[in-house]
């Protein structure tokens, strides 16, 4: 993997993206902001008056980082399913890439780099809006950006490593519905994991999304913990594991 190789791939994505950005702007940015207004401001007004409200935080402060990371992860997962299989199966653009000096590992790195860039862009926009709405308390909130990108890569790396091994898109809808959606709802995004039935709590700890949400929340609320180092390490482990897997699956599929 070489930097100019990856930048030529990012350039390719940008060239396509500048013509179609509006098609994905709503799902990447508009929707999370709508959720933030509806849940953080609207629903928050209801729950904040209740006894036992989330751990001393206002609901808006609680849900802002949750929504931000969960929306990014959803975007990252989608981007590492269909487009990745399409590159080898439907339009053969990966075949063209590896016929040039680019290698299958460059292609994999290009996929992840582009996902990181897109997620970063949506996250910056979301953070700005959330700050205006009062969802971000601490200036440390800027660290929520790397946390969100890292968490998205913790999904994108293994997911793209998997997608490239597939022959058709049949498993993808299932992954989104049975994998990503439950994580989206139950990883401490909209309510604390401690509100889950005891038996389900350890499941949430397995979810990379929970670790990402915890990190981002500690950033936006300016409330760092030693446990954050563990969250960070676990997310890095997901990224590394996915990367190592992709180092095998991309070459095997693209250069059989």
């Amino acid at each position: 993997m070489r930097a100019p190789a990856v930048s030529s791939l990012v350039e390719r994505e940008l060239r396509v993206f500048v013509k179609i950005w509006h098609a994905s702007a709503f799902s990447a940015f508009g929707m999370p902001v709508l959720f933030l207004v509806a849940m953080g401001v609207g629903l928050g007004g209801l729950v904040d008056d209740r006894p036992g409200a989330a751990a001393g935080l206002s609901y808006l402060h609680f849900v802002t980082p949750g929504l931000m990371v969960a929306a990014s992860v959803q975007q990252a997962a989608g981007e590492s399913l269909w487009p990745v299989l399409g590159g080898i199966k439907w339009d053969g653009r990966y075949v063209a890439m590896v016929a040039s000096p680019l290698t299958p590992v460059d292609v994999f790195a290009g996929v992840l780099a582009w996902i990181a860039i897109r997620v970063a862009a949506s996250t910056v926009a979301f953070l700005l809006v959330a700050t205006v709405l009062g969802g971000v308390v601490s200036p440390w909130g800027v660290l929520a950006l790397p946390a969100t990108v890292l968490c998205s890569l913790a999904f994108a790396a293994p997911t793209s490593a998997f997608s490239i091994t597939q022959e058709n898109e049949v498993p993808f809808a299932m992954i989104m519905r049975l994998g990503v959606l439950p994580l989206f709802l139950f990883s401490g995004t909209f309510f604390p994991v401690s509100n889950l039935p005891g038996a389900l709590q350890p499941l949430a700890w397995l979810s990379p999304l929970w670790h990402g949400v915890e990190l981002a929340r500690h950033a936006t609320t300016g409330d760092a913990h030693w446990a954050d180092l563990a969250h960070l390490a676990i997310l890095l482990a997901w990224v590394t594991g996915g990367w190592l897997w992709g180092l095998r699956t991309f070459p095997r599929r693209l250069t059989p």
Partner: protein, 309 residues
Amino acid sequence: MLESLVDATGLTKRFGSFTAVSGIDFHVQPGEAFGMLGPNGAGKSSTMRMIGCVSPVTEGHLRILGMDPAVDGPAIRARIGSVPQEDTLDTEMSVWDNMVTYGRYFGISHALIRERADELLRFFQLIDRRDDKVDPLSGGMKRRLTVARALINQPEMVLLDEPTTGLDPQARHLLWERLYQLKRSGVTLVLTTHYMDEAEQLCDRLVIMDRGRIVAEGSPRELIDRHATREVVELRFASTEEQERSVPLLEPGSPRVESLTDRVLVYTSDGEAALGLLAEHALQPTSVLVRRSSLEDVFLLLTGRQLEE
């Protein structure tokens, strides 16, 4: 002596336990148009992909431009052009953006790409379509764009896997003509085909492949002279029964007689004599065609099967 651009000895490709390419030897010299002729499944694409450094060699020795694909894949690919069997154009972008994007994969500067892309699109008669999306282009245009794109790095050698399969005759002739000009400008061509006319038109030298092996090698003329008679008599009969009766009558007088589903091919230097034999037994073919032998005949004589089924 000039060094070979491709140097293959005992080249083998296996997929699991299946052997697609079975220990073949060949060499490609600078400036020549080298072909691989063979039916579907012969192992042509598998060989091309190994040459293009997009498929690891299972066994044997392979050097491209003097380098080892296992070590120097990117450096080799930087100096060759590759036109795979299936078009791999970027369908999300325009003709022009396809050229630019592909050039960027080679690390070529935008300015240089613009200059070359303009020239190449003119050469391949695509300049009028430069801002169009790729999808609505005709098959011939897509193919020409794939070839144009493969030339963006000014390669020393271009690999063309079935360059004109699926194109109509006019589109094929246009592409042949451009490839011929390319060859005249000094670019080495390596191409595969299952059309004998394509092999005859474009190749200085070729190998005939069947089931992962090379069964013959030479210029089109040499192959025909060596493996076939100068002329062939094609006979068609009113019924299969008559065709079956004719074969044993013809065999003694001719070096080879091949009975296909719809006709009998008699490889002989004396067509008249063969027809005389049939007349003696009151067998009258419904049609008689005497023609020169082609590479198709060479393939049939070497393998007992037809190139295109």
